[in-house]
């Protein structure tokens, strides 16, 4: 069962949330970030090339122009491959674990899988981020040897940064899946 809704992120950009219910114990949430804007790309390229042209008129060395072209190309490729995240996915499977995937604009995918034995809970936390107060969804991890202590906090959807309404949807869905795990587990 698939459903798509649109929300906005903390800066006001549009986000699309895709919910896929494969079964009562397996759900996937996919948040797509706003695409690379042509305006920003053009602005950066123009600035770099104007600066290079200015240097060229000072130094009369044509290597500066070729260097500027290389820098722009390499910078764009590096940005697409290492910085620009297109989509972030959260896959929750009861009795296996939670998997978080980030797909970059160049197609690269970065996946992290956390086993169910290490997961204590999923919560929405508040944080002060510069001059804003934002909400973020995070997974609380516990050490299997010390089940009462929280050993780590893993934030989810870090580059998409959706707002509270989107987070509440995901939170409710995840809690339904985790409720079963809590019922069968022996932790207090």
């Amino acid at each position: 069962m698939e459903e798509e809704r649109s929300f906005s992120d903390i800066c006001g950009g549009r986000l699309a949330l895709q919910l896929r219910y494969y079964s009562p114990f397996c759900r996937e949430f996919c948040v797509s970030c706003p695409r690379l804007s042509l305006r920003l790309l053009t602005a950066v390229t123009c600035t770099v090339w104007l600066a290079a042209y200015g240097l060229f008129t000072l130094c009369e060395n044509s290597m500066i122009l070729s260097a500027a072209i290389f820098v722009t190309l390499l910078g764009l490729l590096g940005y697409l491959h290492f910085v620009k995240i297109d989509q972030e996915t959260l896959l929750i499977i009861d009795s296996l674990g939670i998997q978080m995937t980030s797909s970059y604009a160049s197609g690269k995918e970065n996946t992290t899988f956390i086993e169910m034995g290490k997961i204590k809970d999923i919560v929405i936390n508040e944080a002060i981020y510069m001059q804003k107060v934002i909400y973020y969804l995070c997974i609380l991890l516990k050490d299997p040897l010390e089940p009462h202590k929280i050993s780590q906090v893993v934030p989810v959807f870090q580059s998409a940064k959706p707002r509270l309404d989107c987070l509440i949807e995901v939170y409710k869905s995840c809690q339904e899946v985790l409720a079963h795990k809590k019922a069968t587990s022996t932790d207090p």
């Binding site: 397996c26 996937e28 009795s95 899988f113 034995g117």
Partner: protein, 611 residues
């Protein structure tokens, strides 16, 4: 018909029993059963599923499929045999049904009957029809059912895994529970590490293939024939005698170097000052470890040995390239010819610098007498040094030629020799630095002590603090006089100290860069990086799951793939230990030592005591 309809019937039966009485909580809230199924067995004929059942995680790891016809006693014997060899509890988990043409009814009944021969709770029944994309799975508990005669069905989740990749991969970090010893063969690992553990320990099962004339026919990743590489097998056979030979040679060398002759006084001191000896010793340790006749104790040890071997080979290859470059077209001669004029040039520049200091450097007014004394002293020193260099000049080319030969031991050795030659050639700068620093240090201590006298205080050595003290009048008079003299001589000494310290720091920086390069070649784990590039599944950081095409009402199917370790983690986990020549001081303590004129020894030598 067949198994598909049977499962539908059973489902129908369950629904009916739901109408009669509420579902027992187990069927809905019980843990989902995870069945790990190897992708190589999806095309295998129908048969029995053989593998390991992990009750804590409610997972069934299928390792192989046993085909018809078979005799149950022989199957049980085979399982017991493999269990003894591998310490993994193998059982018959259920049945596998692959309908190639029309679904066979008789097979369905036959498979149901097998559940009674090999009793296992829960009994897994997997079925796939050729042409259909979806599977049907059933897991039944006969004994723990509340309604006698009606088995409880669990939800089944199918997870496909690539058996070969999971077998060959090494999961980082190894999850060993603290209360298990390392040698405990039946130690159970947590979570997914248990799956990896199960597959890697069952190598005894995977050795049986279809060419073996066994009474029991198995299907797994190696059932088409054992996989091996001729080169690897030859290398394994050859490595025994080669290791023995090299180990003997190395023991001879180490016995020769342990001889008492090398312990006579000047030699250990000189050896500790040269980084070449340190580097040679380091490489010798690597060689002994790589060619030792003991087998590696674990995958980490094996990787370390492989990394060391590749690092040694690269080192020697680069060294031989350098050697061929040096010895071609008379480069050594050119280098030797250029060396003496270069040393002369450096000495001349130093003389100009001293002349400048003896005048009015940067417009500052120096104390004439002290200036002349220091300047002339250092100029004479330079003169002596240049005479020695000129004395050595006929032999330089021969020495360089023989030293250049040492590049065949490795590029790191050649770089260490370069660093040592640099240290030797700039020895006079080191001497000047020491003289300047000592003079300045004396002056600073004198000044601080006399400053205390000026204020009427004294340093109490017993209590390690400053106490007030009443001085006699003549003590005060002489002290104040000396204080004034020292403070007026301070700019001259400070300037000389500053200039020579900067020169020394420059030389130290160049040496430091060379050492950094040597450290890089020493410690980079090239074999691990190459493995991560070419066979990423060998170094696993974890797993990742992909949901395969799904239809409502059918069991969920996932594909488990290996998530390789990121490159930064590979370097961090497998880097080889270096010589240990790290900078000794933090920036704060360095500045403090410079201010007070204490001598700086930039590198921690191995024999130094820790602060």
């Amino acid at each position: 018909m067949g198994l598909v309809s049977l499962s539908a019937e059973a489902a129908g039966l369950d629904a009916q029993s739901a109408l009669v009485s509420p579902d027992p909580p187990d069927t809905v809230l019980g843990m989902v059963l995870k069945a790990f199924f190897p992708t190589c067995c999806t095309l295998a004929d129908s048969g029995l599923l053989v593998g390991r059942w992990i009750p804590e995680q409610s997972s069934a790891v299928v390792l192989a499929v046993v085909h018809f016809p078979f005799i149950p006693i022989q199957v049980k014997e085979l399982l017991a045999q493999v269990q003894q060899a591998s310490q993994v509890g193998l059982v018959v988990l259920g049945t596998w049904c692959h309908h190639k043409q029309e679904p066979e009814e008789s097979l369905g009944h036959f498979l149901e009957g097998l559940g009674t021969i090999f009793s296992h709770e829960p009994w897994l029944q997997l079925c796939w029809e050729k042409g259909s994309k979806f599977w049907s799975c059933k897991a039944t508990h006969q004994q723990s059912s509340t309604i006698p005669g009606v088995p409880i069905e669990d939800h089944v989740m199918l997870i496909f895994y690539d058996q070969r990749k999971v077998l060959l991969s090494y999961l980082h970090p190894p999850t060993v529970l603290p209360d298990c010893q390392a040698g405990d063969a039946t130690a159970s690992a947590e979570g997914l590490a248990a799956i990896f553990d199960t597959v890697s320990r069952s190598e005894a099962l995977f050795c049986k293939n279809q060419f073996d004339e066994d009474p029991v026919r198995l299907s797994h990743w190696q059932s088409e024939g054992l996989e091996a590489s001729i080169l690897v097998e030859l290398a394994k056979k050859a490595s025994g005698p080669v290791c023995l030979l090299v180990a003997c040679l190395l023991s001879l060398v180490s016995a020769a170097s342990a001889c008492r002759l090398w312990k006579l006084w000047p030699l250990p001191f000189i050896a500790s000052k040269f980084s070449t000896c340190e580097q040679l010793r380091h490489r010798f340790e690597h060689l002994t470890l790589v060619f030792s006749t003991q087998k590696a104790r674990g995958p980490a040890q094996l990787m370390r040995k492989a990394n060391m071997l590749v690092s040694l080979l690269l080192d020697v290859a680069l060294g031989l390239t350098l050697l061929s470059w040096l010895h071609s077209s008379n480069r050594i001669g050119q280098l030797a010819d250029a060396l003496i004029p270069m040393a002369d040039h450096v000495a001349e520049e130093l003389q100009h610098l001293l002349q400048w200091l003896m005048g009015a450097p940067a417009g500052l007014k120096m104390n004439r007498a002290l200036d002349q004394v220091l300047g002339r002293f250092f100029l004479y020193h330079i003169h002596l040094w240049i005479s020695y260099i000129h004395l050595m000049s006929p032999f330089i080319e021969r020495i360089l030629w023989h030293v250049g030969l040492s590049a065949c031991l490795g590029l790191t050795v050649a770089l260490s020799i370069l660093s040592d030659i640099l240290a030797l050639l700039t020895f006079h700068i080191y001497c000047f630095y020491v003289y300047g620093a000592r003079l300045y240090c004396l002056k600073i201590y004198g000044l601080s002590s006399l400053w205390r006298l000026f204020r009427g205080k004294k340093w109490n050595v017993l209590r390690q603090r400053v106490d007030s003290c009443s001085y006699d009048l003549d003590q005060l008079f002489v002290g104040t006089l000396l204080f004034t003299i020292l403070i007026f001589l301070l700019p001259t000494t400070a300037l000389y100290y500053l200039v020579f310290t900067l020169l020394r720091l420059l030389v130290v920086t160049v040496q430091g860069l060379i050492h950094l390069l040597v450290d890089l070649i020493n410690s980079l784990p090239l074999y691990s990086l190459g493995l991560r590039l070419c066979r990423p599944y060998r170094l696993a950081a974890g797993v990742k799951f992909r949901v395969l095409e799904h239809e409502a009402g059918r069991p969920l199917r996932l594909m488990m793939q290996i998530n390789p370790l990121p490159y930064s983690n590979v370097v961090h986990t497998y880097r080889l230990p270096t010589c240990g020549c790290h900078p000794k001081h933090s920036w704060g303590s360095l500045c403090r030592k410079l201010f007070f004129g204490e001598l700086i020894y930039p590198w921690k030598q191995k024999g130094d005591k820790q602060d």
